[in-house]
Symmetry: C2
Subunit: 444 residues, 2 copies
């Protein structure tokens, strides 16, 4: 029987996380972790799930942007679409009228990502496989077909991409076995939010080390003296053998980044993340050249493959941080993984927020099995937060992500959560007045 | 009496321009020129007008994004806001939750631009001055205060900006007089849309030259053989003394751009515009280095000042094309004008669409009077299209923009137009079925 796409069911899902300052950093002092959440339903009652992660206000804009893509799917044959996701990616990103809103960036581009990820979720569910395994079992030529090489030709050709995938082929079965047995390394950001007291940071850092983490990340960027003090405190707490990275969340300009990173050098940091604007390719290059051998990381806010191409091909970063929802979904992230492999830059995915861990782990595991073939100096970010709202929450044990076995991408949220946290009418919001609004109820 | 901001009155305004293929190019075959249009009303009945230009679908997303900023203005003192527009710019662009949707790019950032431009429109109306003159009469230090130097410090310091403005001071009065007498040079794109027949292109090119234009622009990028043929045709039609530029609208990758531009070299082009992705700073640099002395132009789709900083400081472009609505309004465009002046790159604004000519002319004229102090190798784009919908339409005579004298920024649209072309319920849309929708009425 032919099945066709029937509807986009969209939820403006928001969690009032600003109440506890979980997730606070120098750029984002009071996030309400949110999701522009898509259930892509078919005529036979099947569905795929995808979302864009946001931090509160404006989530309704993101929902509207996903809605604008509905016309591309509704009424179309499900099998035909799912078996040509490279073609669909090109169709969605080159809708000429919508493209003007980006191009290839921001709300419009992330909306494409939600739809693409929902389609991959559905495809994996239908195949009865977790997304990482579905991707890892594709033929190299099929993977290459998923990638749009427009604007990439000068850094990565289809033939080079094919060669990378073919080279990784021989050990894939063995790596799959190892992954299923031992999982994928994680680092934790849970200890280091800026809004936390020193006592809380120390306690959480110790708990993290006891739980097996060998890599912690702290937020910096609001005040360098305070950053140094906190980093020294954590270094003294965990000793010299635990990796400590810091994340400045774009707070610095190029000149101040260089000065501030030099002041942090004695703490022996593993990487410095988002030292400046994610758009500043030349700035990252200048910073990296000035502070080497300190590692520079970025990517969670890089809008598209063209940014990643420049960062990777010019040697502007040491660590490439993909995000499940910032670029236009699985297909574009595969392009990034392939470029990172070509230029020898390890991929350490950004996660946290709400649902980012659940989805991005699949990309890291696919990278390990089928692309880079390595977990050396690679970790997926882990924040132990809001996982209970997902049908198949991540499992992190002994500081390693266990490879998911459930079919799909991990994006599906419990129906009860959709009801409780829908904004502004869900029970979690009906009685709540945001302290930032000075007692006023915010306009929708 | 104290006046406060009362409301955002937003209109989803769309013109069915795809019917005639006006504005068609290699990337945008069937635009419906549109405007997410803001009337920012105050309690005493005053108003400022601003908008984001889009090309159709998704205009409702842009409207929603502007709506999300309403809470920052409503209830606030008008005078206080208008006299601190630098501060307000920083407030709007650093709303931490909304910033996540960019950062500094796409729908979210353009929404800030609409609000900022509406505030400048109101300020100019209240001052009884056209915007260009209001800006040109500010003290250099006041102009510097409008600019957010975050992420710019390595290319332009406040002291350097001040020096540029102070250097331009002495001849300002004389340039104002000259501007009022002779206007500002224009080039025209009206002849060269891709959807036009050869006959129409030849006829329009001749008409443009007769009207006094010494600089025409043609659209290219769909098929290089056809591009060469059309360019040769126009060159044969207008002779060797008329400048011809071409616009590839991002259709090429770096490698193909270099190859295609070399094939166009014999036509003696003035500039090649948007050869590739607007995000590809290193790509533009590679193209420019490979095809020099051919001039490379870009900017209309550059999302923010960080992109412009890189393009200008690295020598990636010969021509800087600001747009009234792509970055976050007047303040950010001032930052770009100052950087262009520092790096000696002429600014030739992008215009056309609907309302872009009306607004951007003010920025070019401000640049001439107070920043670059020159019109040499500078032209404002002109497309003779949809001006009749504006309260104070541009006047282009003898291929020169006449300096506007009416108070404001030129952004205000006639009320009758708002009614007729509001989407989807205005009379212009109620009976119209887009041919691209295959007979279906599009979902809203």
């Amino acid at each position: 029987m032919t099945d066709t796409f029937r509807s986009f069911e969209l939820t403006d899902l928001r969690f009032p996380t600003s109440r506890d300052r979980d997730g606070s950093d120098a750029m984002n002092p009071d996030p309400d972790y949110s999701s522009a959440y898509l259930k892509l339903a078919t005529g036979t009652g099947d569905a795929g799930y995808g979302f864009v992660f946001t931090i509160g206000r404006g989530n309704e804009v993101q929902v509207a942007a996903i809605r604008a893509l509905e016309r591309h799917l509704v009424g179309r044959d499900v099998d035909q679409v799912l078996s040509n996701l490279g073609e669909l990616w090109r169709e969605l990103t080159t809708d000429s009228q919508l493209r003007w809103l980006g191009p290839d960036k921001g709300v419009e581009h992330m909306a494409v990502g939600a739809v693409i990820n929902a389609l991959w979720d559905l495809r994996a569910r239908r195949a009865g496989l977790p997304l990482w395994q579905l991707l890892a079992e594709l033929e190299p030529a099929q993977v290459v077909d998923l990638v749009d090489f427009t604007y990439l030709e000068d850094a990565l050709t289809p033939a080079e991409a094919l060669a990378i995938l073919q080279t990784a082929r021989p050990g894939a079965a063995e790596r799959t076995t190892r992954l299923l047995r031992t999982g994928y390394p994680a680092y934790t950001t849970s200890a280091g939010w800026l809004g936390y007291s020193d006592d809380k940071v120390v306690r959480l850092a110790l708990e993290a080390v006891e739980a097996g983490f060998d890599h912690l990340k702290l937020k910096v960027g609001a005040d360098t003296d305070d950053d140094i003090r906190r980093c020294e405190l954590v270094r003294a707490t965990v000793g010299p053998d635990i990796r400590i990275s810091v994340d400045a969340n774009q707070r610095w300009g190029v000149t101040s980044a260089i000065a501030n990173i030099r002041r942090l050098a004695h703490i022996d940091l593993w990487w410095v993340e988002e030292p400046t604007s994610p758009d500043d390719v030349l700035g990252h290059k200048a910073i990296r050249d000035a502070v080497a051998p300190m590692r520079i990381a970025t990517g969670e806010h890089c809008a598209n493959r063209v940014l990643f191409k420049q960062l990777l091909s010019s040697g502007a970063v040491d660590v490439c941080q993909i995000d499940a929802c910032r670029v236009a979904g699985v297909n574009e992230n595969i392009a990034v993984l392939l470029m990172a492999a070509k230029f020898g830059v390890p991929v350490c995915p950004h996660a946290g927020g709400v649902g980012l861990c659940e989805v991005v782990q699949h990309l890291a595991m696919f990278d390990y099995v089928a692309v880079s073939a390595s977990t050396e100096n690679r970790w997926i970010e882990f924040v132990d937060h809001l996982h209970e709202h997902f049908e198949t929450p991540v499992v992190v044990e002994g500081a390693r992500y266990r490879a998911p076995s459930a079919p799909g991408s991990g994006a599906r949220v419990h129906d009860a959560t959709l009801e409780a946290f829908s904004y502004p009418d869900g029970p979690a919001w009906r009685t709540y007045v945001n302290p930032q609004s000075h007692g006023q109820v915010l306009p929708r």
